[in-house]
Amino acid sequence: MVQGITGRAGRTQTRWMLDYGTNIVAGVTPGKSGEVVEGVPVYDTVAEAVQKQQVEASVFFVPPPATKQAAFDNIDAGVKLIVVVTEHVPIQDVMEIREHVNGRPIQVIGPTSPGIITPGEAKIGILPANMFSPGRIGVISRSGTLSYEVSINLAKGGYGQSTVVGIGADPVVFTNMPEILRLFEKDPGTDAVVIVGEVGGIQEEKAAEYIDRWMTKPVVAYIAGINAPAEKRMGHAGAIIQGDGKGTPQSKIAALREVGVDIAEHPSQVVELIRKHLG
């Protein structure tokens, strides 16, 4: 199901997802019920769409002010996988949506996510199809554009991807990195995982803890932002919660190295590191 299917991005991306083989059964835009976009029927509400069609996943192209309500509607309708592509969703709305899931078996990804692709099968989101090819490497990325960069380079080096997940680079995201690591660890189609991280937050530090305790598959990483201008100071409260000195590229690289994760110095170097593990 495509939320915001009648907008420019919604229409274009719906066509590309259909071309790629994604089964799109419904679109939702309030006030546009009865329209058909790229052969997909449009409904006014999520409730109407899930009643008429069997919906398992949903992708958002709605503007930031409308994202919270749309997410609540999808969660309440029991949609199992929700991918929020929308950028600039207010942080407190993200926190409300995350709380609204409240233990239900619903996976929300984003915001500012490029989406999820299982190359050769289907994609949910905006990832450009020609950057990906089928294979056995899992990719988790905070950045959309870098997930494309790393995937096309992997493919060129002979390594296709089992699945690529863009979790989004906002300060608060719906699904943290360790949860995606967990899914790749138990996925029989994945042999190794690439983490694409960046400066800020503690996703990579938490990923390192998870890898140390639970991962048996090899993991390699690239962390963007070594030369980024110094970040705005975290402030006292941030330091009290996260711990002093976390969030820098150096802290992330050290945490990952300590648990045996090889670090690429530039994006395309992940290919050599993967080759080292898989031959």
Partner: protein, 384 residues
């Protein structure tokens, strides 16, 4: 840094939000020149504290905070502050606040725990500039509670926190009440941080917030138009301000290789790769809003920095129609006499179309698929 830059408020703006929610603050007024400072000091009552209104922490150590006992002193001190720069920032306004003698200092804050995705309330029975050290060395004076964003911070929970840091008597209830109100500031105005450091108890038993640190989530500004917060005016660098105006993130750097990217992560990676062989002149990322018009304006922006040796364009067609963006770049080059080499790596949807447009405009299009390939080509062109 690059995607969600919270907007930091001036102390007086934060204090105004405190006042609206009923958090007690000392009598104060703003002045924009020494004569006005004198006048306001007489109104708020001597002695006074003069505080430079600049968007940086550490103002006290940088010479931005002074006390004055009489009006001549007020005028002299404020002249000195107006003529100075505080951590490089010019001083346009002074806050003239009645000086309060505190007997005891507390620290209060509400901020999201980003990783766990919920707000956290923090209360320390000892505040002041050494709060980080206090938190590390004597964790027992400080308590933090995770909160439900839908339920918020109840007065009961605030009282409980007050008990946990062993406050008693009037101070127990008063501090809890301020913490409760601070949560209202956090929630009502989409703050990414609402902090009081210090809150003091005065000799005559009042509780006053002597400083405010409030940052507002800039993604939420669409619902806070009443606050009249002008983001552009806070950016002192003219090129960075221009970037904000056209809707992109531009950060000026001190190198000579200009850069345009279509995402923050890609932009940072590009800077990292440039940094291995040279120095970037800027960071620029467009986000998902590329159009011909936007990239025309972006070209106009990055080319304004003097002394450039080359430009690297690194863009992906995911949600962005890069073939349209390329038209904007081509139009800019047709209308302007650009002498430096331009290298472009453009991949994704509409990549072949984009390459044709770039090539016709005299741009070197990268053959490979990595940013490193692009920088190799670029360094070759400028003989590095």
């Amino acid at each position: 840094m690059l995607e969600n830059n919270p907007m930091r408020l001036y102390e007086f703006e934060g204090a105004e939000l405190f006042r609206r929610e009923g958090i007690p603050i000392p009598a104060s007024a703003l002045a924009s020149n020494p004569a006005e400072a004198r006048e306001k000091a007489a109104q708020v009552g001597l002695p006074v504290i003069l505080k430079a209104q600049v968007l940086t922490g550490g103002r006290y150590l940088a010479g931005g905070v002074h006390s004055a006992d009489n009006l001549d002193q007020v005028e002299e001190m404020s002249r000195r502050v107006f003529n100075s720069r505080i951590r490089g920032l010019p001083v346009e306004r002074l806050m003239v606040a009645h000086k309060v003698d505190g007997e005891r200092e507390y620290y209060l804050a509400i901020t999201p725990d980003d990783y766990n995705g919920y707000p956290v309330a923090i209360l320390s029975a000892e505040g002041g500039v050494a709060i980080n050290t206090t938190a590390r060395q004597r964790p027992e004076v400080l308590v933090s509670h995770p909160l439900s964003i839908s339920k918020g911070l109840s007065l009961d929970e605030a009282l409980q926190m007050s008990s946990e840091v062993k406050l008693s008597g009037t101070e127990h209830a008063e501090i809890a009440s301020v913490l409760f109100k601070l949560y209202q500031v956090f929630r009502k105005y989409d703050a990414t941080i609402a902090e009081i450091n210090p809150l003091v108890r005065t000799r005559d038993g009042r509780f006053l917030a002597l400083d405010s640190k409030v940052e507002i989530d800039d993604s939420s500004l669409f619902r806070h138009t009443d606050l009249n917060l002008n983001q552009q005016s806070r950016m002192l660098n003219p090129l960075e301000r221009k970037g904000k105006e056209i809707g992109v993130t531009y950060v000026e750097l001190d190198g000579d290789i200009a850069m345009i990217s279509s995402g923050a992560g890609l932009g940072m990676a590009t800077m990292d790769v440039i940094g291995q062989r040279g120095k970037a002149a800027n960071f620029l990322e467009t986000g998902g809003g590329i159009s011909a018009d936007l990239l025309y304006k972006v070209m106009d922006l990055v080319m304004q920095k003097p002394g450039l040796k080359a430009l690297f364009i690194n863009i992906y067609g995911g949600i962005n129609p890069i073939h349209e963006g390329a038209q904007g770049v081509a139009r800019y080059l047709k209308e302007h006499d650009v002498k430096i080499p331009i290298v472009a790596k453009a991949l994704g949807n509409h990549q072949e179309e984009t390459w044709e447009i770039f090539k016709a405009a005299g741009i070197h299009v990268v053959d490979g698929v990595s940013t490193e390939d692009g920088i190799d080509l670029l360094m070759g062109l400028i003989g590095k």
